[in-house]
């Protein structure tokens, strides 16, 4: 058991910090704004244009969806105002410092999950799979041990049972496989550069116009 496996000594980066780190490793992320008041949330939403999403974020908040801390498809300033007030009120003392994250609402029919996992037997592994809220139930995923090369990354996509969804679907273009491969290679490089990164969870990474873009991300580091 090395230090990375000592779960108690881990902490999670906030979503905004996580995305900022991942952006340095070729992971395209949806732009966002982190604010602390409902008024500032509305100002950010005005700037992005509607619809937007609003989430409560903080280092100690890992499963936002499960706790109802994600508000989707907010179509105007009043809705953002109300959602922001709700979210701030939903914080509990155990959450520590919290903030509101506002981002444009993207539409996509295809969602992937991409991540980094510290396996007790094999060490850190890169993963790709079918994403979204059903990711764990569907469990169509492929792993490789970091570091990986481009052959490995392409073969991971081939491994997916539902790899057909990477082709053209219902009028949408085929997934830009090279762009997804770049994300996987980026995570592999991150693992090499940062021994303290215990896990990365990018779920979902949406496919918009064929290109992957992360709309949620969580990085876990050893303290």
């Amino acid at each position: 058991m090395n230090a990375r496996h000592a779960r108690d000594s881990r902490r999670t980066l906030s979503e905004a910090e996580s995305k900022a780190l991942l952006a340095d490793y070729d992971v395209p992320c949806v732009p966002d704004r982190v604010v602390v008041t409902a008024a500032a949330a509305v100002a950010a939403a005005d700037e992005f244009g509607y619809p937007v999403v609003a989430k409560l974020t903080g280092e100690r908040i890992a499963h936002k969806t499960e706790r109802g801390l994600v508000r989707l498809s907010l179509g105007g300033p009043e809705q953002v105002q109300a959602a922001a007030a709700d979210l701030l009120a939903a914080a509990v003392p155990a959450d520590g410092d919290v903030a509101l994250l506002v981002a444009p609402m993207l539409g996509a029919t295809r969602e992937l999950i991409v991540g980094l996992h510290d396996d007790p037997q094999f060490g850190r592994c890169v993963m790709v799979g079918l994403g979204g809220v059903l990711a764990e139930a569907v469990a169509d995923v492929a792993f490789r041990l970091a570091p990986i090369d481009a052959h490995d990354a392409h073969e991971m996509l081939d491994d997916l049972t539902a790899s057909a969804i990477l082709g053209p679907v219902r009028g949408e273009p085929a997934v830009d496989r090279d762009a997804v491969v770049a994300v996987l290679l980026g995570l592999s490089r991150l693992a090499g550069d940062r021994p303290d990164v215990a896990s990365v969870d990018i779920n979902p990474i949406l496919i918009v116009g064929g290109a992957p873009i992360a709309v949620d991300a969580l990085v876990e580091v050893s303290a």
């Binding site: 779960r7 890992a62 991540g115 037997q121 094999f122 060490g123 492929a142 792993f143 896990s199």
Partner: protein, 493 residues
Amino acid sequence: MKPRIAPERFRAMFEPRGVLVAGVSSHPAKFGFVALHNIVTQGYEGAVYGTNRDGGEVLGVPMLTSLDQLPADAPIDLVFVCTPASANVELLRACAARGVGAAFLTSAGYGEAGPEGREAEVALVALADDLGILLAGPNGQGVVSTPARLCAQIVAPYPPAGAIGIASQSGNFVSSFLNYARASGVGVSRAVSAGNAAALTIPDYLEYYASDPATRVGLAYVEGIADGRAFFERVRAVTAEMPLVVLKGGATSGGERAAASHTGALASDDRVFDGMCRQAGITRAVNVEEAFDTAAAFATQPLPRGPRVAVVTTAGGWGVVTADAITRSELELVELPESLRAAIDERLPPRWSRNNPIDLAGGETRDTIPEVLDLVARCPEVDAIIYLGLGIQSNQARLLREGRFGSDPGIERVVAYHERQDTRFAQAAADVSAASGKPVLTATELALADPANAGPATVRATGRYCSPTAQRAVAALEHLWRHARFRQRRGLS
């Protein structure tokens, strides 16, 4: 990464000039008897010595009560240990003094037997290291090496010679693979039951096999892996040199772990192991027969250069079902080029399928099958062939021969003709494969139902493997293609 053990050191275990069996019993039900029996009866030509407490003679071998009684120039490289754990420290020291380079320990009472046993095992490994002895086991079932005609194991069978190198964390899986080898005729170079794998581990044996001219493919059964990262790195280097088929036990245990992330929750032991195999170029089999089928295909067929398969069949239904299996796999059912159709048209009446599967539809005459196999193998658009229908004529020949009219000269003539034909067909499958450098797999349940049938019997005689079903041939061929593709993409020869 741990440096490889020099292959020369393994000669003491797999090519010993002489073997000492320690702890011989005179009782045929005891391991100490069986070990000596198997060594002296299966063709081993080196010197054989034995020790026990009572002296005397067992199976014609004089029993020593002390290693001091060994002739000074006795060339012993391997000690096969059937003594209890308590005797082994002294034994290993005495063996080292005699120049013994390798020890295979069947003795139990080590790591599998609680804290005291684990302590004894650690001490044993350290001692063997000090003495410069390669230590296999303890708690293993033995070692087989057909180039040396060595059957140093406390279980059966002794396999035919061949190119498959087996290393197993379960001794009984060694026996399973050896039984498949005996049944199919596709033989084995080396086999070892790693037992507790206290010193020599599965990767150590596989590294030796990769450097061994007698071994063309590795076949391993693994359960627990102590250091996954090291296993990965070492086995990846092995697969660069030879194909490796792995059967993993405990694939479904361990299950999902509680984890903070979705990624962690999805990272079951089996999924991570599976990904590791893909990355390392390991051919992972899902069960024991697929493991042997695939190792046998690697051992006896050239690698396909691409995924395009042609099915040649004398019966419609078999071809259809085989085509279905190919369609579900990563192989492709190749569209026949017009030139090939035209060439086959010249040899068959128009009722043949004119498509893939190439169903000869009963239109074949004496030479059609060898000719069509040759045409298909020469076709540049075809990377591999699966040939179905072997043995049909000989199956009827058997009924004719065994029926009450079997001695009729007309019937005898037809029986001989049928059997000659199936012999030719099986020979043609091997010949066109050798000439074209393409895999040509045969499949018929007669391989099991009537192994003496001239079809499967001739497949064995050509050194090839006759799959019991077409589906199993497709699965093995798919593994061959996946491995070939792995090598192509990475520029491995």
